[in-house]
Amino acid sequence: MSSISSTRLKLLKEQLFHGFFVKKEWWGDDLTILNTPEVEKKSISMRKALAFEKVCLEMPLEIKPHELIVGLATMSSVGFGHTFPKYETDEEAKYFAQFSLDRKSVWGHHMPYYKKLLEVGYSGILAEIEQKLKTEADPEVIDFLTSAAHTLKAAAALSKRYEALIKESAQSEQDDLRRTELLELSRICAKVPNEPAESFHEALQSVWFVHMLLHSTLSYTPLGRIDQYLWPYYEKDFNEGRLTRQEAKDLIGSFLIKFNERTQFRSEHMENHMSEGDWSQGGDPNEPTTTFDMENDADYNFGQSANHWLQSATVGGLKPDGTDATNELSYLFIETLNELELVSPMISARLSDLTPKEYKSFVGGELCEGGAQPVLFNDEVIIKGLTQRLNIPKEDAFDYASDGCWEVLIYGRTEYSYGHIEVMPCMEALFNKGCSFVTGRKIGVDPGDTLNSLNTFDEFYEAYFEQVRYRIDNAVKNKMKYYDKVHQIAPEPYLSALVDDCIENGRDLTNRGARYRIYSLFATGLSHCIDSLSAIKKLVYDEKRLTLLEVAAIIKDNWKDNEALRQYCLNKTPKYGNDDKEADAILVRFMNDFCDRADYWNSSIDWLTITAGVATFENYPRFGRQAWASFDGRFAHEAFSSNYSPAVGRDQEGPTAVVLSSTKVDLSRLNSGCPIDLRISFNKNSKDECKDILSAFIESFRSLGGNIMTITKVDIETLKKAQENPEQYMSLRVRLGGLTVYFVQLAKAQQDEYMRRTEHNF
């Protein structure tokens, strides 16, 4: 356990961790607003606003002892769904079900523009809406603006409910100090978010109210550049002597704790509220990118996304004017988060050539302590990609942030979604007449008898990539065809009021209102694809040991009676992640082709930006489970490696080789990101030495052109002990690919999977 800098933070932490073992009540799934025929006649957007209002007026309130930031979000979870009053009619529900959509088809990921919210408050945004309504004639625009205005007023009413509750509890408070605190809190709740924030405390409370409400109304939103938009308030209070560093830390700690209150450590405490439409973007139900199967098998899934809400915050990096943005808050957020050993929000640190050395060393030092926070972003590569490849103006590109897990987007100005292009099933399709070996369903192009006649590796590769291209094309076409369906059942008037430029455009963000609309194509299962191609090249084309038809038969039989050959593929063929020329040449070729196809679509569509990345997020076991055997030596259903990381245990040349392999691709083309996830341990005696080595390693990753990296310092012995004595390792945090989790809260299968990862000894 880390040492904690104040009594308040210590008490808040104890209170929080105690709550992890208490069953949380879910609220609101049985409610409806469809009580009168009049309501049913209203537009879907207005009905959503009315349901939103119902939540604001009825959701349970709570004030906890010691806390300086108040507001309780209703229960929800990426893995186990969320709740919201019914506002769609049965006919609508039936109609949209054919596109896998329902009222819970809210994608999250989009960040509110908190900078503006803090500067003008709801009241400023309402004034803007009213101004626009004066001259507006388009009924669709009027409908959107009226709904958005309705949600802002309802949201303001929620803060008033808190104001009243706190006042009441102040009256019965015996402790003078706490009573003063409560009275101050009630004053703040009376003011924000409706009015502009004027102090650091007001700003934090304002952000939390908005965040909490979004998360109580289906929208899993991240926080964006938190050290930037909060800075003016901190700076002013600090410079004018109203706030000490420790007082700021108490406020930040109280704020950060709130993001973890929905955490549940015990699977028996979880309720499943997933609907058919959860994680759907709308589309053909047979198209794999339409929905996202969370597989809520408790043993399997629990812990994976159970305590995940896409709550991510970004610090550091460059300002919109291109100068260094690092400030005291860039330190304080990471420092306080790690002091309290929290998993949420996940903090991403942007590092650039202008980032002070001191800050880079601080970040290295924090990662040396374990806990896997922060995630590292390389400004040079990411901004280059955003400006040069996506033509995003510099001042916006400089303002990028990590969204729910780590995807790169322009904070406060982007509507975002993605599709997984599962590249391993693409290989199944080639070997199995266009069908999956697992389901038998058609997932690709039937190659006919061509397997017989692919005489060179180039011919084979092209035939394989045709399958990948088919998946990419289908994903994009599906997205385009059904893009506007979401808006007809799950609009987001409240969030739209907080995202630029929805009001100016008079359109909901689900209705193309935001300044940027991005759809990412994520290569999924990449390392296994590269290693399989490499093994096929060696065995079929270089050594001519086997024919492709034999390879197909071996894969089909899941390596049955072929253990020696499987070992050969595992041990004797070039693998990605070893700085190996041959394997990396295949990687570069594949990634360039993948990005070319994304670029092709990006240049063909004018209203939607198409980007590329490499991703599994935390779902690498699930993606693996749904894929058949592969020629890299992987058995059917075995987990993939996470994101852009080499296959587990196949990276045997150390971490420098991993970085060198992965940066042979021009990663500025992977605009949405491609994280390398490393697990490391230390043998060095001195902490300073560890910090220096790790900081130098991170800096090398940056100068070689890496884009995102996550680092978890934990050795296998600690993991084993944590598995045996979980109560002693309650706060042990590890990074799973898309999120940071408490290790002991994972199901055993997930823990075992994590423990297989290569440990790089620093």
């Binding site: 020696a564 595992l570 700085d579 150390g654 005696n685 390693f697 090398s700 620093f762």
Partner: protein, 306 residues
């Protein structure tokens, strides 16, 4: 001349990237094969013999007997892929034949240019961390021309060079090598020559003499003191070392205590060799701490583990 440098081959045991334990910063350690000493506790017994040899990982063997099929002298294999190491000619055919990775070739022929090319790959990491290359072994000076060429090549690429040595080498050759060394990691195992001879096979006179001559020639020199229970862990020996350093090794301040570990044991098994060292007693952390304190009190910079 240049041609010669490129064509002279040496025997490399292993090239280990991202090493942070043999010199400063992030380093690549090049282990050369062959050693003039025969220390029983050696942590890398597979490095002692100059010529390539086979290592066998029993736990990976599936007893498919492909090794026996391919071996020109198939009788050498009896059960579970186990090789009669004594009569092995080192043709390495069984290594290629083993799909399970249970057979490893210790030692491959490489040119210095090939080695430098691999070392160069991690240059960015050296530059950011103050690291570089470390030439180790075995004993690198067993292949003096090859070692010299590797170091020259690295220096011309602007790479910081370190050398780990037992010091038992011909001074003429050794001094040439030192011209290209930034940091010298120098083993001194025992101050008493006859005990030294009994346990390592050689007297320590040449080693101490070379140390004295080398000290003024390199920018940085660190003495490495492998602490072996029952051999050199006495306070007397530590004191003698400290006095020697202070009297004879001008400017050399640092000594690294490297506590004994039994890694050599399983490695010996892999190369079919009995482990010649019997541990008389476990090395306690208190003991290491005592040595640390003593050396520290003598005014030296001491680390445990390097």
């Amino acid at each position: 001349m240049k041609n010669n440098e490129e064509t002279v081959l040496g025997t490399v045991l292993d090239i280990e990237r991202f090493s942070v334990h043999d010199g400063r910063g992030i380093r690549t350690v090049v282990f050369l094969k062959g050693c003039p000493l025969k220390c029983g506790w050696c942590a890398n017994p597979e490095s002692q013999q100059l010529k390539p040899q086979i290592g066998f990982f029993r736990d990976k063997c599936a007893a498919c007997m492909k090794c026996a099929e391919i071996c020109p002298n198939g009788r050498l294999f009896k059960e579970q892929g186990k090789l009669d190491f004594l009569n092995c000619t080192g043709c390495m055919k069984c290594v290629d034949a083993c799909y399970y990775g249970a057979r490893i070739q210790y030692g491959r022929q490489m040119s210095a240019a090939e080695v430098v090319k691999i070392v160069k790959r991690d240059k960015v990491f050296y530059d950011n961390s103050g690291g570089g290359v470390t030439l180790s072994g075995g004993e690198m000076s067993m292949q003096p021309g090859f070692a010299l060429n590797i170091l020259k090549g690295c220096k011309s690429e602007g790479i910081h060079t370190a050398v780990e040595t037992c010091g038992y080498s011909n001074w003429e050759q050794f001094s040439k090598i030192l011209e290209y060394v930034d940091m010298l990691l120098y083993d001194i195992k025992h101050m008493d020559s006859s005990i030294h001879k009994a346990k390592t096979g050689v007297l320590n006179a040449l080693i101490l003499e070379n140390a004295i001559k080398a000290a003024p020639l390199v920018k940085e020199m660190i003495i490495r003191y492998p602490v072996i229970p029952g051999f050199n862990d006495s306070l007397d020996n530590a004191l003698a070392l400290a006095r020697f350093m202070k009297a004879k090794l001008k400017g050399v301040k640092r000594v690294d205590l490297l506590p004994y570990h039994s890694m050599g044991l399983s490695k010996c098994e892999r190369i079919g060799k009995p482990y010649p060292f019997t541990l008389p007693y476990e090395l306690s952390t208190e003991k290491v701490q005592q040595l640390y304190e003593l050396l520290k009190a003598e005014g030296l910079d001491v680390t445990i583990g390097g």
